[in-house]
């Protein structure tokens, strides 16, 4: 198969295993491209992409923008804080105004879950979801899968634990869908208050004890505690969270096997992960960032192939 089954990347839930494999295979070629002396290819030279960030982002926005530039696309950036959204314009109006300027593809981050799905129904451009509330963050899940595959080979049968704030995490949900579609086993681990009710119905294991979870897994994906999304207290103190769910070198070295450590960033050093672990040879955090550009290039290249 050489093309995606969808016109937009709204979430991992909406794409097939074959789509994921196609994106990861294409990303391998782009990883080689971005390691060349000249890192640019002209594939998207006639495409204009708008990056609409209604919510703050540093690395995702930078990663998308670099990916777009390496594909030779024209890029326009939009930050909600300095726009007419403040003057009361609706999302559809904002986007339609931008599309009237002949934009072919929209990369959007929004605080409302389902914003990308809503937009895809209303506008003509190809939509890429760069995070919608606590719903999905598909490109992060794809780059995580790519990074694991790069280190450990085929994901089938691999055991991945996602640790931390599962309740507020779009990364967790997209990762669960993506890893399961690729045949991996997924476990979530964190304080009971940060594990969504009925998450077992997605086919994931739940473990409240970090050591047990780490003993079980091949890969641990440590999530950040999203204090900005927590309007009530979910645990007594950060210090207590770190004692129970923080990963430090003592714990890592006491495990019976070497596991891979991942983190979608931004890292809160000393809270969910200690500095020594984040910088250790088992950590692939910076490789995730590098792979992010390749994966996003692959996604935009494949979606652009569907523009008529």
């Amino acid at each position: 198969m050489s093309s995606l089954s969808v016109n937009h990347l709204l979430g991992i839930k909406y794409i097939t295993k074959a789509d994921i494999e196609l994106i990861l295979d294409t990303a391998k070629n782009f990883k080689e491209v971005i390691n060349r002396p000249i890192k640019k290819v002209p594939s998207l030279r006639d495409i204009t992409v708008a990056n609409l960030f209604f919510e703050n982002s540093t690395r995702t926005k930078l990663s998308f923008e670099l990916a777009q530039k390496r594909l030779s696309a024209d890029v326009v950036n939009f930050a909600a804080s300095s726009s007419s959204v403040k003057k009361g314009e609706t999302l559809v109006d904002t986007v339609n105004n931008i599309l009237a300027m002949k934009v072919d593809m929209v990369v959007m981050r929004h605080s409302s879950p389902g914003a990308a799905v809503f937009l895809a129904k209303k506008v003509k451009a190809k939509i890429i979801n760069a995070g919608d509330g606590a719903h999905e963050h598909p490109t992060q899940a794809l780059l995580d899968a790519f990074s694991i595959q790069d280190k450990l080979g085929n994901l089938k049968g691999k055991k991945v634990v996602i640790v931390g704030d599962i309740l507020h995490s779009r990364v967790a949900l997209s990762n669960i869908f993506c890893l399961q579609k690729l045949g991996a086993e997924v476990m979530v681990c964190g304080p009971q208050t940060l594990i969504p009710k009925h998450i077992e119905s997605l086919g994931v294991k739940v473990e409240l004890n970090l050591r047990k979870a780490l003993e079980w897994c091949d890969v641990a994906n440590m999530l950040r505690i999203q204090l900005e999304r927590q309007d009530i207290k979910f645990f007594p103190s950060l210090r207590e969270y770190t004692m129970l769910y923080g990963l430090d070198m003592n714990l890592l070295q006491s495990l019976s096997k070497k596991i891979l450590i991942m983190h979608p960033g931004p890292i809160n050093r000393g809270i969910e992960i200690s500095s020594e672990v984040a910088d250790s040879d088992q950590s692939i955090i910076l490789e995730q960032v590098e792979n992010g550009v390749a994966v996003r290039m692959a996604v935009m290249f494949l979606l652009a192939g569907r523009i008529n």
Binding site: S2, S3, T26, K28, N29, E32, V33, R36, P37, I38, K39, K40, V41, P42, S43, L71, F301, A304, G305, I307, N308
Partner: protein
């Protein structure tokens, strides 16, 4: 109608040997020359030629790379394209490059290849070697310097190149729509 066989077996072997000797005439020991096969189908010919050159020249240091042109093509979004691997672990700066493909048809792949190649440096000189030249069908002013065999064909026909390594036999056939 049976597909027309253009080259096969020993005849194909003789052609490849001749191409190698033509290359040696120009490139001597390949001290400043590199070979680059174009993905997806040119790489088999480039491997054969590389193997034979190494044997004739008793020189195992001839550089061989594989170049994918997908991201540089001008027909992206006009048809489905599948990227392949680029594998060039050397710089082509100031080198004589022999670009190799199996069939030269419209010249668009070669155009993309010339562009894609520049990511690895500025070559001193670029030559094109093809096994089959479908003359009178070019869309661009591109010609090969080394040609296995020139054929006359119409646009609806297809040239199929099979290799021992992938299809189990060495054969070049000309297919018409009905085949």
């Amino acid at each position: 109608m049976k597909p027309k066989i253009i080259l096969e077996g020993e005849q194909l072997e003789v052609t490849i040997t001749r191409l190698c000797h033509q290359l040696i005439e120009v490139h001597d020991q390949f001290q400043n020359s590199v070979i680059i096969g174009l993905q997806p189908r040119g790489i088999y010919l480039s491997k054969r030629i590389h193997q034979k050159l190494c044997a004739i020249l008793k020189n195992k240091n001839i550089k061989l790379g594989e170049l994918d042109t997908t991201f540089f093509r001008d027909d992206f979004r006009r048809k489905e394209l599948i990227p392949n691997k680029t594998n060039i672990d050397f710089i082509i700066e100031e080198q004589n490059v022999v670009l190799i493909d199996d069939v030269l048809f419209t010249g668009r792949t070669i155009r993309a290849g010339l562009d894609a190649m520049l990511a690895f440096g500025r070559p001193k000189d670029v030559e094109l070697l093809v096994l089959i030249d479908r003359r009178f069908s070019r869309h661009l002013p591109i010609q090969a310097k080394y040609i296995g065999k020139t054929i006359d064909s119409i646009e609806s026909q297809k040239v199929k190149v099979e290799w021992q390594e992938t299809e189990g036999k060495d054969r070049v056939t000309l297919l018409t729509d009905k085949d």
